[in-house]
């Protein structure tokens, strides 16, 4: 790893750790929530980078898994509040140690099922079939009348963690930060291991990989399922941050946002996705404060970035630009 990249990672880590302290010091503690949102979206975007940037599988339906994770948390909290059982036998829960692993596992299973079917196609067809499955889950969420349908479902309080006050914005921020950093470390190790080498091989040339005696399908499916599970965890965290879930979580524009974050930060850079999430969310917030019609500025910025700034921000900052 280049020295400059190592320095950049260290700087990012310090920034993440010091952020709540910094914004409180300048008297803007309400900005902690913004930081939490950036870290959560960064987690979702980094999980997407795993399959898009490293595996070359362009999923245009990643918001589906994000939404599944969010809805698992929302629905469990709903039943915990009502004291009723889901499907008549699953009790609700507002314990993070129950709800978050459940979100992770169920989103992973959804990704396993969707991936098993979608990965039989490639290229444009893969983009569109992942979008189609995401749309199905979106309309499923809309039709869940018990859980608010179109309007969504708000719940209170945040999921409880033993020994921590998740209601406190700073504590919750650090919980999210620990999960994000944990995922980044795990993903880095995975990418440096055989799994990562094979995954990059999938992106470069599947046929050659098959000639080496490695079946690409299994490794692609494993990556897709892991990526979906982590996106589900991110969705669970987002639901907690807002204490609200709605079909908006699964909307196809959310999948578009995630792809933008990945590209903005740099494809296949892992940490770059977090940077991309930060830049996009900050840009949106700043532009929205400046004008109600911020999208008319954001749209052309995105177009210009794609046309003229190839390789992403991480490559520029770390001096490791890839072609």
């Amino acid at each position: 790893m280049a020295r400059r990249e190592r320095g950049l990672i260290l700087a990012g880590l310090v920034l993440i750790l010091a952020y709540p302290w910094g914004v409180t010091a300048v008297g803007q503690p309400f900005l902690i929530g913004l930081g939490t949102r950036i870290l959560v979206m960064g987690l979702a975007a980094a999980s997407l980078d795993l399959i898009v940037g490293f595996g070359g599988m362009v999923s245009f339906g990643h918001a589906a898994f994000f939404g599944v994770g969010g809805y698992v948390v929302g629905i469990l909290a709903f039943h915990a509040h009502e004291g009723s059982d889901l499907l008549g036998f699953i009790p609700g829960s507002n314990q993070a140690l129950v709800a978050w692993p459940a979100a992770f596992v169920l989103a992973g299973l959804a990704a396993l099922a969707i991936g098993a079917l979608s990965l039989r196609t490639t290229g444009v067809h893969f983009i569109m079939i992942t979008l189609a499955f995401a749309q199905m889950l979106f309309f499923l969420a809309v039709s869940l009348k018990t859980y608010g349908g179109d309007d969504g479902l708000s719940f209170r309080p945040r999921n409880l963690l033993p020994g921590l006050d998740t209601k406190d914005e700073t504590s919750f921020y650090y919980v999210v930060a620990v999960l994000l950093v944990g995922f980044l470390i795990l993903a880095r190790r995975l990418l440096d291991a055989r799994f990562g080498t094979v995954l990059r091989g999938v992106r470069e040339n599947e046929r050659r990989l098959a000639a080496l005696g490695i079946q690409p399908y299994g490794i692609k499916l494993a990556a897709f399922a892991l990526s979906g599970a982590v996106a589900g965890l991110a969705g669970a965290l987002m639901a907690n941050q807002a204490r609200f879930v709605s079909p908006e979580l699964l909307h196809w524009t959310k999948s578009g946002d995630l792809l933008i974050m990945v590209i903005l930060g740099g494809l296949g850079t892992l940490y770059g996705s977090v940077l991309g999430a930060a830049v996009l969310i900050i840009l949106e917030t700043v532009l929205a404060a400046w004008t109600e019609h911020w999208m008319i500025v954001l749209g052309p910025i995105l177009v210009a970035l794609i046309l003229f700034a190839r390789g992403g921000l991480w490559g520029v900052l770390a001096g490791t630009r890839r072609s």
């Binding site: 898009v52 362009v58 245009f60 079917l117 039989r120 196609t121 290229g123 444009v124 067809h125 983009i127 569109m128 079939i129 979008l131 189609a132 499955f133 749309q135 199905m136 309309f139 499923l140 809309v142 039709s143 869940l144 009348k145 349908g149 196809w252 524009t253 578009g256 792809l259 933008i260 590209i263 494809l267 019609h293 911020w294 999208m295 008319i296 954001l298 749209g299 052309p300 910025i301 995105l302 177009v303 794609i306 046309l307």
Partner: protein, 303 residues
């Protein structure tokens, strides 16, 4: 009787989708471009037509303005932005054209506001026609079906019988070879894109009086249009036609009859909720099934 009416509704919706899908599938097949902003051209057509129709009171003016605006803006966007994306990978295309959607939606909001715009029907198509005894059907909707069928015929003749059509088909199978044979492929790109934009504008103009003219109307049909061309097979106008009718029928018929059928086994409110959910999902289920059965669509254009 109700069934006949719903089948016509399905055909009408399918025809609208076909007008959008024909351009999109050619752009996709020839230039290899995923253009998410195709729905924006439809929206531009609808807004321009509604504005011109309300200002002049003439449907002809609305039609010309709508199609003209969509074609001119479409070709301008092609020359300024999209042309640079043809050689890029699909990911770049998706993100850049997503940016264009944001731009056009916000521009429409600034110009026309968030309230839906009223688009008037031509008065001479305001009545209804009794196709079968006892089944009156709005003349305007029949006119949409007729126009769509004419466009389909025209496109068929253009692609199958003319020199330009021959070049379009050649570009679909191997654009490098077409270029190597000394054909100005850039000109074909612009013409094909302009044609697609014109048809999207036409769809927008005709949709105006039936659906509401508002920001975001493009994205609702855009995704269905992609479903159509994936089902039909990328690059194939025939596939787009079959796919569009299939999607139009499945969407309309499940929406009309599924909640009623479910009421036989479920309580009324459950049946409505489940029925609406499943009928929204039906076309995506159809697409997934087609792709798993035939990964390249029903009528793959090349290879």
């Amino acid at each position: 009787m109700l069934l006949a009416e719903q089948v016509l509704n399905g055909a009408e919706f399918g025809i609208m989708l076909f007008l959008l899908a024909a351009g999109l599938t050619l752009v996709f097949g020839i230039m290899g471009l995923i253009n998410l902003a195709h729905g924006s051209l439809y929206m531009i057509g609808a807004f321009a037509a509604a504005w011109a129709g309300n200002a002049t009171g003439s449907f002809l003016m609305a039609l010309l303005t709508g199609m003209g605006a969509a074609a001119v803006i479409g070709m301008a966007v092609e020359a300024l932005v999209l042309r640079r994306l043809y050689a890029r990978d699909h990911l770049d295309q998706v993100v850049a054209t997503f940016g264009l959607i944001l731009f056009f939606n916000e521009a429409a909001t600034m110009l026309f506001g968030r309230q839906p715009l009223f688009a008037r029907m031509p008065p001479w198509l305001g009545g209804s026609v009794e196709l079968l005894p006892g089944v009156p059907y709005p003349a305007y909707r029949l006119a949409i079906i007729a126009v769509g069928l004419l466009v389909a015929l025209g496109l068929y003749l253009l692609v199958a019988r003319t020199r330009l059509g021959m070049l379009i088909r050649a570009g679909n199978s191997d654009r490098e070879m077409v270029r190597a044979l000394g054909v100005d492929i850039g000109l074909i790109y612009t013409l094909v894109f302009g044609l697609g934009a014109l048809l999207a504008g036409l769809a927008g103009v005709m949709a105006g009086p039936v659906f509401s003219v508002q920001v975001g109307m493009g994205e609702q049909v855009l995704i269905l249009t992609f479903v159509v061309i994936i089902i039909g097979g990328i690059g194939s106008v025939r596939g787009a036609f079959v796919g569009a009718l299939l999607v139009g029928m499945v969407d309309t018929l499940t929406r009309a009859f599924l909640p009623g059928l479910l009421k036989l086994v479920l309580s009324t409110s459950d049946a409505d909720a489940v029925g609406n959910g499943v009928s929204s999902m039906a076309v995506y289920l159809l697409m997934a099934a087609v792709l798993l059965w035939r990964p390249r669509g029903l009528f793959p254009a090349h290879g």
